[in-house]
Amino acid sequence: MIDILMDKFLTIGLEHFLILSGTLFFIGLFAVLAKKNVIAVLMGIEIMFTSVNINLVAFNKYTAAEALLTGHVFAIFVIALAAAEVAVGLALIISIYRQRTSTDVQDFDWLKW
């Protein structure tokens, strides 16, 4: 019983990477939901992107190896997209900051009643 557990712990398999990437994703999500500074929110989003990339590569290695390195290609595209998104996001933040001089997410409430 213990050795099954130890085996599970010591042999690195797909689950380990998945749990790692999942936890990283949710940490990023926590930053998105619970931080006031909008830059921190953006950083959380970046962490989420990264975790997704780990997921892709892990799946490629363990379950979809006959698809050659499609997971890697997908991950590269995701990285490119993340970069573009950061650029546009920061541009937006700076533009808002110019108008409102505030980086507090709670001040951006124009969707209110």
Partner: protein, 166 residues
Amino acid sequence: MTMAVMFYIIAFVTLGSALMMVISKNIFHSALLMLISFIGVAAVYILLHADFLAAVQVLVYAGAITVFIVFGIMFTMKGEPRKTNPFSQNAIPAAVLILLFIVINAVTVIKTVWPFSNIAPPETTVKAIADLMLTKYVVGFEVTAVLLLAAMVGAIVIVKGVKKSS
């Protein structure tokens, strides 16, 4: 065995720095911790035999995006750096939610029966990636380029503002 040790150390570093980044109240510290987290992820890629991707990760994420974020911080920082990154009012419900999510995720992953395939990965990843990218996924490749161009132009336009035509 060594693999396991390496994995746990790298995992600890990555997750730890990500967690610290989220908890830290100083936005600079958050940015630097994010950098460490990205590098940790690059190490994870190496564990997964994705060397090219690890390089790209370090280049793009740790190099460009982190610098970008620091630029953003510089532009918009106000007041004392120590207090620039507080928690918002829904920190506690969010924390509960996240814990719940992590548990759910872990349980799901462990319970699922994954269809493992036993083919060995190719040795030269760059060639394989290039082969795929320029033959099978060339459309996506080109579209990504267009997307990057659009993002660039869009970012400039947003920041510069639109001049009123007089």
